[in-house]
């Protein structure tokens, strides 16, 4: 070491010891994450790899592309993917339209009132998803509460088809997904400095103008985060479309279940899962590219 000859020899041994301390500290830190990392590896990465592997082999063990070939050749599969994305996009859109005003309202309340509201928003999580879904079935069916009240009040004369179709599925899914978009939206709105809105008003912006030009752009990160969470959860949803769709809304997850339960066809089910995963990743890539572009033009404004 040249430096040790130039400077007094004091402290070089300490340097080594300090370096070691730093290393130990870093490993200790990492060890805190180890259990979770291990769990993810065992319960997520390994099964996914296994899934991919299965999709390329027949039951007899011969390598094959038949599972993917079938996905392309049979139009029913294209329809299933189309339904899955349609339901997911519609649910996300409706959640955004319903959740944004709610989150805005909550962000304008005092901390106490906002916390109370937050508890109300999270209330549905206290009961099981299955129970809530069946509750909707009871409410929405031909002789259910909604139809009988609607007809008694004279709002409509024939029972509306509210369940066992797309409408029922969407009602159920929006109900379940709403908190997932309200939470991040509320979080990002809380962090928006109120003086920014005041500044906009001071500079001559009407309330509508200051919302569009200042508040909305600043709440976009929360909106995209929430929308992505909802969208991804929707893609793999099983219970609600199964119960409220009445067999007319077949999403990828339902098809995977029938492939395994009814036909014991692991290869076909795996291929479906793999394609869904891939297409989700591609979509996410496009979405993040788009939002990045949006924020860049936002700065250029």
């Amino acid at each position: 070491m040249d430096a040790s000859t130039a400077s007094p020899p004091l402290g070089d041994d300490h340097a080594a010891a300090l370096r070691k301390d730093r290393l130990i500290e870093r490993w200790l830190m990492l060890s805190l994450a180890a259990p979770a990392l291990l769990l993810v590896a065992v319960c997520l990465l390994v099964p996914i790899a296994w899934l991919f592997y299965l999709s390329f082999y027949t039951d007899a063990g011969a390598a094959t592309l038949i599972n993917y070939q079938r996905l392309v050749e049979q139009p029913s599969y294209a329809r299933i993917f189309w339904t899955t994305f349609k339901v997911s996009i519609l649910t996300t859109g409706i959640c955004a339209v319903l959740g944004y005003p709610l989150a805005y309202f909550m962000s304008q309340l005092s901390q106490r009132a906002a916390n109370l509201c937050m508890i109300l928003v999270l209330l549905p999580f206290w009961t099981s998803l299955l129970v809530r879904t069946y509750a909707w079935l009871v409410l929405l069916q031909r002789t259910g509460l909604v139809n009988s009240w609607g007809m008694q009040l004279g709002l409509w004369s024939e029972p509306l088809p509210l369940v066992n179709n797309l409408t029922g599925t969407l009602i159920g899914m929006v109900h379940i997904m709403l908190p997932f978009i309200v939470l991040p939206l509320y979080g990002s709105m809380r962090t928006i400095d109120r003086t920014l809105v005041q500044a906009a008003a001071n500079l001559g912006a009407s309330p509508v103008q200051s919302f569009w030009r200042v508040f909305l752009p600043l709440s976009l990160p929360g909106l995209t985060a929430g929308a992505l969470v909802v969208f991804i959860l929707c893609l793999g949803f099983y219970v609600t479309p199964e119960v409220l769709g009445g067999g007319r809304v077949i999403m990828v997850s339902s098809r995977i279940a029938t492939d395994i339960d009814t036909f014991l066809n692991w290869g076909s089910a795996s291929a479906l899962g793999a394609v869904l995963l891939l297409s989700t990743l591609i979509l996410l890539g496009i979405a993040s590219r788009l939002t990045k572009g949006l924020s860049v033009t936002g700065v250029g404004h």
Binding site: T195, N202, A205, V214, H301
Partner: protein
């Protein structure tokens, strides 16, 4: 200095209370056209509330506010046409510097070419020419302050409000910006209301200072008069350093204990008064009698070296004390007797100021 378009402001009987607490208590204030007026007061005095009432963000309970001849008390903030510099600058983080400054122009439907020209001119004015494309997060505190100023000036408002705009800056930059704001004001001649709790800032920048205490106007005057002739003890204590001695006035003659005190102005009504003594106004004098001086004798209790000056506490006996400042030069330091030693101080008659007894 008033430019032709500057507006005066009449604040009349404006009150605002939160529950039982009166934050503003029937405030009357007349700001002249083109004036730089500072609202000065301790925190919680209501000065910021008054500014927010003027800006339209806080709705007062009663009163009247005129910009020129126009009543604005019920007018929405966006219709008041005020430039405002916020304490935290409130720059829009999703727009760059030019976007922030162009914001009020876009709302006023100024065309693109004029907007670009005026944005650049505003940036030049605050010495940030060529910074238009920078993001807000790339700027230092001082630069943000200038951008906020440019944004408040670019649409040529006839009144500008500033809410402690320099409080986040370090001392040197703050003093630089004080002079720069003052220079800008002299150039533009816009009516300006400036809020601060920093008395030195207020004295440096203002044409007039309105001292606010407990929601009322304690005094409104020029910096020189506020400092030299405070109306009451609150103003005297809040601005500058001062000691107070109890004096009595009878038959137009003022006495401290048994000594007659000569005053510059006519002595007030008979009764108890307070004599205000600023540390820099008293000086050490020898035993010889001197004309035009009121004399006080005491003992030196302590001395503290403060760089430019030496601060000396003098005990007059009977619980009265005076503080004295001596320049920390060789001559100044040499003139001070040893601790515990007797000392005689002189206060010139012209500087002798009496205040009413009640606070």
């Amino acid at each position: 200095m008033a430019s032709a378009s500057a507006l005066d402001i009449h604040v009349r009987q404006v009150s605002k209370s939160y529950g039982a607490v009166a934050v503003l208590d029937r405030v009357d204030l007349h700001v002249q056209a083109g004036e730089f007026l500072t609202l000065l007061g301790p925190s919680g005095s209501g000065k910021t509330t008054l500014l927010m009432v003027l800006a339209g963000f806080t709705r007062p309970d009663s009163g009247s506010i005129l910009f020129g001849s126009r009543e604005v008390i019920r007018l929405a903030p966006q219709k008041r046409d005020l430039g405002m510099v916020f304490q935290n600058y409130a720059l829009f983080p999703h727009m760059n510097v030019a976007g922030n400054i162009a914001f009020p122009l876009r709302l006023r439907k100024v065309n693109a070419a004029d907007t670009a020209r005026r944005v650049e001119a505003a940036l030049e004015m605050v010495q940030l020419g060529g910074y238009g494309a920078r993001g807000i997060h790339e700027l230092s505190g001082g630069q943000r302050q200038r951008v906020a100023l440019a944004r408040a000036l670019v649409f040529e408002p006839r009144i500008i409000l500033m809410d402690e705009p320099l409080s986040a800056l370090d001392k040197q930059l703050r003093e630089l910006m004080q002079l720069e704001l003052r220079r800008l004001h002299e150039k533009l001649g816009t009516t300006t209301i400036y809020v601060t709790h920093d008395q030195r800032e207020a004295l440096t920048m203002s044409d007039r200072i309105a001292v606010i205490n407990k929601g009322t106007l304690a005094q409104l005057d020029t910096p020189r008069n506020i400092y030299a002739r405070p109306n009451n003890r609150f103003v005297a204590e809040f601005i500058g350093e001062s000691a107070f001695l109890n004096v009595t006035v009878s038959g137009g003659v003022c006495r401290y204990r048994d000594t007659v005190i000569q005053t510059g102005a006519a002595a007030p009504r008979d009764g108890r008064c307070q004599l205000m003594i600023r540390p820099e106004q008293v000086q050490i004098i020898g035993g010889a009698p001197s004309d035009g001086m009121n004399r006080f004798s005491g003992r030196i209790v302590s001395r503290v070296f403060q760089g430019d000056t030496l601060r000396i506490e003098i005990d007059l006996g009977g619980g009265d004390a005076i503080t004295l400042r001596v320049p920390a030069s060789a001559a100044g330091l040499g003139s001070v007797p040893a601790d515990g030693g007797p000392i005689t101080l002189g206060l010139s008659v012209a500087d002798t100021t009496l205040l009413p007894d009640a606070r």
